[in-house]
């Protein structure tokens, strides 16, 4: 049980980084990025390739994945100056799919490295040191959880601090439209570019951490629906507040995994469920219903609680 909670906390922590990254882009800068998962994918793939084919250390791999995703963020941001937000949103979805198709159809060296096969046997940081020191896999998992949580905390603090700087303030102004910031002399496209670069870096870093944790990635991990789950986390938690993104991640992860337990609880106890409840607990119904539930929560939040569970904080200057 503890092991499993550690696992959930680790993957949840990585998801929270993605939510923080999206919160910077959407919550702060108002950028509707529907291709967030592309950062995650680029971070993971680039890091794995640098380490496994380039023979570099894992630290360099993670750095490379982070930088590559940041560069992709800049690439995505380039047309923003000219495009309407809704057009831009759909083109980010398209861009993420092109990235996925690239990795799906490209072999790196051997036909079994890349393509649909993905990459397996991705090395894990300090893994050998743990084995040599006689420590168990559980110890290692705990170490990785620590690594993820420390990174998450660092990212959280950095982004929250950034939001309070004049840079972050300008992003907040941009999210309500270009005109006022432009009239005040802010180079809006430059700010968007930097927001996407930082968002990309955070997303890529998370992807690299995931790849080295999971030791296996393939294109199936990076389909568009995964972006939606991150969106659910941000909207639910409250766009604009970094704590909200983390809260949203915790809630969505919990819903996602607790439905699994409820179903197995129901089947293990052999409950004589009423027909309707029994119908709901059939896996072929429960799986889709989980997504319906997440969608419903987003709608309810937008309709009745537009600022999310943890609303954006106002910085007070009054004396």
């Amino acid at each position: 049980m503890t092991e499993f909670l550690i696992y959930l906390a680790t993957t949840g922590g990585i998801a929270a980084m993605l939510a923080l990254s999206l919160n910077l882009q959407y919550g702060l800068a108002g950028l509707v990025n529907l291709g967030q998962i592309a950062f995650f994918m680029i971070g993971g793939y680039v890091s794995a390739i640098i380490v496994m084919l380039g023979g570099q250390t894992i630290a360099i791999g993670i750095l490379g994945g982070t930088v590559a995703a940041a560069l992709f963020g800049i690439l995505m941001a380039l047309p923003t100056a000219r495009l309407r937000q809704d057009y831009w949103a759909i083109s980010t979805l398209a861009a993420a799919e092109i990235v996925r198709l690239f990795f799906l159809n490209t072999a790196f060296g051997s036909p079994y490295f890349g393509q649909a096969f993905g990459i397996d046997g991705i090395p894990q940081p300090y893994r050998r040191a743990f084995t040599e020191a006689g420590l168990t896999t559980s110890n290692y998992n705990l170490f990785y959880l620590g690594l993820v949580l420390v990174s998450l905390l660092a990212i959280f603090l950095i982004l929250r601090w950034l939001a309070g700087t004049p840079f972050g303030r300008t992003l907040k102004a941009i999210r309500e439209g270009d005109h006022v910031p432009l009239a005040l002399g802010k180079k809006v496209s430059g700010f968007r570019l930097r927001a996407m670069a930082i968002g990309g870096a955070v997303g890529g870093f998370a992807g690299a951490l995931f790849a080295h944790y999971n030791a296996f990635i393939n294109p199936e991990y990076f389909v568009p629906i995964e972006t939606f789950i991150i969106w659910a986390m941000v909207i639910l938690g409250g766009a604009g507040n970094f704590l909200g993104a983390v809260v949203g991640t915790v809630i969505i992860t919990t819903i996602y995994n607790s439905t699994r337990f409820i179903a197995s609880f129901a089947s293990q106890r052999d409950l004589e469920l009423t027909p309707i409840i029994g119908f709901i607990f059939e896996p072929r119904v429960l799986g889709p219903l989980r997504m319906v539930l997440i969608g419903l929560m987003i709608l309810l939040v937008i309709l009745y609680l537009p600022r999310g569970l943890v609303p954006e904080r106002r910085r007070r200057y009054g004396r």
Binding site: M1, F117, A215, N218, T254, T259, F261, I262, S264
Partner: protein, 394 residues
């Protein structure tokens, strides 16, 4: 009334508390076997079939069963294992690799299963196999057969032979059926299995001087495959190797039919039973198509599996993978029985031994030193009048 109250409390109550309490509550002496399978999402038909196959085997062991052996004898196992009924725990992996990992982790770390059974998708089997191996839990794949699975490690076993074996068979079948074959085309899904099949088939073809003139990889779950079919037929290959999962197969065969492709004459399918259930609504589009399938249609299969399956579930087996699930579960039970404990290393060693003696309903399951199934009989079949029947070359 009491049940309804409990069910209501279940829905209303806090999800986490109820949920996490559940796992530890049912800790008996029973041997736990965990299964992850796609009950939702794109592969859910196969997923359900695999679950049924595994359930059939476990139910038999729990009732006590005379397991057939290769030497003609039987071995009585059960009722139950190690003195208690087996507790089979099935988790949905939603046809997503991340959910497969969630499910496997939950089975190992929360439920503490002795053996993990699961999946026919190589993309979902691979990460779980790596994880299980690292945590020294025996993992038996039911039907995943990408070549890359061989290297996972000593705790990983595969109840199906790797894809490479099918390629040469398809080519041999094409040669026998239409004689002079100089060029080949392939159309496979763009997933680990499909690409693996393409590589294996074209390599086998090249070895005997046949050229693969078109190699089509299609994305699953799309609404149109006409451009793919046009590319496939443009170089006019003498024969075509193809594979598709149920829903996609129906669409591809239908569109091929509508485009006037001579599929009955030139197409040779891999694992053709995959789409038999799906194509039933429009059988004419598949009429006369030939192909290979794991030979599961023997007498043992008929008497021990198909009849019981129809009895239990009221319909014919949905796919061929249920039978492999049955064999995987039988192997797991036999190995635990032989090991006399749920110790992973004991099970792992016993697994090799029992695989040499057990007579599976899908044939001889003997593992090689990597835990990969060595032999696989592929039968040749033809789809005609709405069913798959053994094919005899004229």
């Amino acid at each position: 009334m009491k049940h309804r109250l409990r069910a209501t409390a279940l829905l209303a109550g806090t999800a986490m508390a109820v949920a996490f309490g559940a796992g530890s509550a049912s800790a008996q002496q029973a041997v736990k076997i965990g299964m992850f399978t796609p009950l939702t999402g794109a592969s859910s038909v196969v997923g359900l079939d695999m679950q049924r196959g595994v359930e059939l085997a476990i139910a038999r062991i729990n009732a006590g069963f005379d397991v057939p052996m290769q030497d003609g004898t039987t071995l009585t196992v059960g009722p139950g294992l190690l003195g208690a009924p087996i507790n089979l725990i099935v988790e949905d992996d939603e046809s997503r690799p991340q959910a497969a990992m969630d499910a496997a982790r939950k089975l190992v770390e929360v439920d503490g299963v002795a053996v993990l059974i699961g999946e026919y998708s190589s993309g979902r089997t691979q990460p779980v196999g790596q994880y299980a191996n690292e945590n020294q839990v025996v993992h038996i794949s039911i039907g995943a057969n990408a070549e890359s699975l061989r290297d996972i490690g000593p705790y990983f076993f595969d109840a199906i032979a790797l894809a490479g074996l099918q390629g040469p068979q398809l080519i041999a079948m094409a040669q026998a059926a239409i004689g002079d074959v100089d060029t080949f085309g392939t159309i496979f899904p763009n997933n680990p299995y499909g690409v693996g099949m393409e590589i294996a088939t074209c390599a086998a073809a090249a070895a005997i001087g046949i050229e693969c003139v078109s190699t089509i990889r299609y994305e699953e779950q799309k609404t149109d495959y006409r451009p793919e079919l046009n590319q496939l037929t443009a170089p006019q290959p003498d024969a075509v190797a193809f594979f598709a999962y149920g829903a996609d197969a129906t669409l591809i065969l239908r569109q091929a039919f509508e485009l006037g492709v001579d599929a009955a004459g030139t197409w040779f399918g891999a694992e053709v039973s995959n789409w038999v259930a799906d194509v039933a609504a429009i059988p004419e589009v598949a009429e006369g198509i030939r192909g290979v399938e794991h030979a599961v249609a023997g007498e043992l299969y008929e008497t021990q599996y198909r009849a019981a399956y129809v009895d239990a579930y009221g319909e014919e087996p949905l796919t061929v993978f249920g039978a492999f699930g049955y064999d995987a579960a039988m192997l797991a039970a036999l190995a635990i029985n032989a090991a006399g404990s749920t110790d992973s290393d004991a099970i792992r060693q016993a697994m090799h031994e029992v695989s040499q003696t057990y007579l599976g309903i899908t044939g001889n399951l003997a593992f090689d030193e990597d835990g990969m199934r060595m032999f696989q009989d592929y039968g040749e079949f033809i789809y005609t009048n709405g069913e798959l029947v053994p094919y005899v070359a004229e």
